[in-house]
Symmetry: C2
Subunit: 338 residues, 2 copies
Amino acid sequence: MDNIKAYAAMEPGGTLEPFTYDPGPLAPDHVEIDVIASGLCHSDISMLDNAWGISRFPLVGGHEVTGRISKRGEAVTHLDIGQVVGLGWISQSCAHCQTCTGGDQHHCQSIRPTIAGRHGGFANKVRAQAMWALPLPDGLDPKTAGPLFCGGITVFSPIYELGLKPTDRLAVIGIGGLGHLALKFGRAWGCDVTAFTSTIDKTDSLLELGAHHVVNSRDKEAIKALRGQFDMVISTVNVNLPWHNYIAALAPKGRLVQVGIPHEPMSVRAGSLIAGQKSIYGSDTGSPATLMKMLEFCARHNITPEIESFAMSDINAAIARLKSGQARYRIVLTSDEP
Amino acid sequence: MDNIKAYAAMEPGGTLEPFTYDPGPLAPDHVEIDVIASGLCHSDISMLDNAWGISRFPLVGGHEVTGRISKRGEAVTHLDIGQVVGLGWISQSCAHCQTCTGGDQHHCQSIRPTIAGRHGGFANKVRAQAMWALPLPDGLDPKTAGPLFCGGITVFSPIYELGLKPTDRLAVIGIGGLGHLALKFGRAWGCDVTAFTSTIDKTDSLLELGAHHVVNSRDKEAIKALRGQFDMVISTVNVNLPWHNYIAALAPKGRLVQVGIPHEPMSVRAGSLIAGQKSIYGSDTGSPATLMKMLEFCARHNITPEIESFAMSDINAAIARLKSGQARYRIVLTSDEP
């Protein structure tokens, strides 16, 4: 049995250290993946800090993984040894409940997140149920594609599942790891795209990423002037904003999609939703089928995450860089065993 | 020119008094309707009290009207003199903007509500743009059908427009003028229907109205036990409830629809929406096309409002009855000139 060489925090908030573990026998419906690269997501930090109270230590983060199939369980026939796949937030679902068989496997009551109660992709290998190891289409580079599997799907899923139309106006609040991909998706989708950012000096690069318009998210008057404009607003930020202004900026039937989680509850006036049949929608990740649709779309439109690359052995420096808020726009760790 | 004989409040909160006004020339795209009956809605009280700050006095309420076409403007050809029609919250829209031509006339920026800045159906006659005077199908009684045009459409619209499926589970919070119709719609729609009520002694009548299950809305433990159950929850109440419990009671992709307007903002945890792709949706009224779909559906399924009937000359007694909270379930005023 080959042990897996990973980087783990031994306690909440701890520095990551080399950590070796025995993954045990490979389940029949699982695969083992030789990691090529692994994106670094804010959710990794939340888990490493046990911010959500669900972490178990030693904790190996990493849930935006690309790699090659190195082993497959005896029930797995549709993936080949050596095939390049990606793995995101979820590593396992029951595959037989009504939710799973209906195609909403990401809402299965028995899902196993990749880094909760099991070990993730900050390692030379990672395992997952074969259903969640999605083949990377030709044209996507495994060194950069990892962030699609969490950051990407998080913003692609509402665009796809809520039926955003190419004739619609899309706005994105907060242009980081998730937001910059939302701009790229919205542009390729055919929409008019507005970026709301508090870092207005990023304007030129946001226009390059796909935004048609850039608005200072701290300028309340500018937001008020956009009354009735947007069919969808995706918020990626983790703080409460003056939501009534953003709801007012929605067109009739417009949707405010929350993919960030403010620590405090949102304050929402029901009347502001009722006039115009507006809604506030929450979205987390996506199903395998939606992930595959996203990957095809990215390959067709040359959509790749903008990344800063670190060696996995420099993981603690990478985390410090992420925490600085300066990363443009996603950090990806490259395996020590390329 | 025939004057119109109405009942008006002369000041906010004032007793209604007989009031005669000259409606002026009939616009070419408008009709005049001889009122048969007019439902009494909580929104009439809000307008009579100027609770929303948009009332103009003298104020003639009444926006759940049935009656017969008595005059038609020169451009109106699709309605006949003597034809029975109904009129709801909206009496006019611009008919040429993108929203109107797209079929969402109720979201037109230029809508004229029936009782704001013009006079409503607590009168012997009322006028409206012909588009908003919807023919009553055979089988619906104009003496009872009025409440469909505001209370009814308010709860029908989300069921219809959000694509509730007959296989879905629907819950309704607050069983009054709107809620009792939501139960009837949900039952005829084919759904499993749950009524949440604070008046648990109504249980037998709620089961008769269409509910399969009745739950005490003040029993937090009972609500918690319904975790993950409902595809749609329609709240008709005007107070804040422990929304997190109702959001937890939604199935994945479930929708909490607000048609009541609590005075205070709702407190909503974004994370509770994100896990399971849930949403909070606001809905007010419906388009002419949706109103027609509702009327057809009501005729097919014998859905009629449960009413208490008052003579229009007893309007002040009817208002007192409405304010008592005892009306089962909607009050309808019958014209003094039947």
